[in-house]
């Protein structure tokens, strides 16, 4: 039996923006599957890269934000995060979003990991950044339609809430999973 060649890499023939909002573009991409001699159109959600911030205080607490989220028409408990500006470094973006959303700022920071929110339909990545030794250092600087409840909780509690379904944002859960592994390896 000859080895399977595996799935074919599709060739993008063209792509056009069909709808634009403040935070994303909907695009229609035409792809060709040479082996099947077939062309199909697929919808792609194009968005800037995002960042999520695991912000750890000196006493092992995480900074949390609670906001009304119109996507689910309800409140969501999350870690800080947002869109990365064009050309901005993910770690710098993490520090900026943390400061703007919560007033916290801190010491050493590094990338825990980078994920694709949804490779099937979405082109961007979300970078997961740990900032250690954060402290409340100033006032928040919210966008005009942001309204955020800032709190801290013991890191172990937050990890337990992730397992128990109290935190449901998939990208936040990814960040906490990477953080949990970092924490275990450090011990």
């Amino acid at each position: 039996m000859s080895p399977s060649p595996g799935p074919e890499r599709l060739t993008k023939l063209s792509e056009q923006t069909v709808f634009t909002t403040r935070i994303l573009e909907l695009r229609s991409a035409r792809y060709r599957h040479a082996g099947r001699n077939r062309e199909s159109d697929y919808t792609v959600i194009a968005a800037p890269d995002w960042v999520n911030v695991v912000a750890l205080t000196p006493d092992d607490r995480l900074v949390l934000v609670r906001q009304f989220r119109y996507g689910i028409d309800d409140f969501s408990l999350e870690i800080p995060g947002g869109m990365i500006d064009p050309g901005e470094d993910p770690v710098a973006a993490a520090r900026r979003e943390l400061r703007e959303e919560t007033g916290y700022a801190g010491g050493p920071a590094h990338l825990l990991g980078s994920v694709h929110p949804n490779p099937a339909i979405q082109n961007n990545r979300c970078h997961l950044v740990l900032v250690e030794n954060v402290q409340l250092q100033g006032a928040t600087d919210w966008d005009h339609d942001e309204e955020i409840e800032v709190s801290t909780a013991p890191a172990a509690d937050v990890l337990a809430w992730a397992r128990a379904g109290r935190i449901t944002h998939s990208l936040v859960l990814c960040a906490l999973a990477f953080f949990e592994h970092w924490r275990l390896e450090r011990k």
Copy 2:
């Protein structure tokens, strides 16, 4: 100091579909913030609930799928999954997607957890289902534009790949994180 009332629950005044594709709708929702006496329009991605399947073989291997994903214009290594049909139970959908995409089917199944892919802009949930004792039981039944490389790998290896960045799909990483906790608790 009086206790902070926290962020206000916004009131949805209206919602209309502005663009429709095979797999999602883009909607524009108008919300009112009473305390600020302000109305704003937000974009919501409306999609059916999704399911991801952690399929475990009797010899502690996980079933994997590798596909070309036009969202990222590249291949992605994932666990099986897809859209839940209207009225379909998440566990039943998991068994169906597993069978259709890979030919594997199995024994006991249960919900590991449910997450929101993105509460900020997206209304749906993704259910994460574990199916134990799966075995190759038949042919695949792909959609007309699916082309999937099916494989299995030791569960411990897959979890290591998740940590190492070889698996990048956020919802797959969530499923593996829940699976990892289930596995630790069972030991």
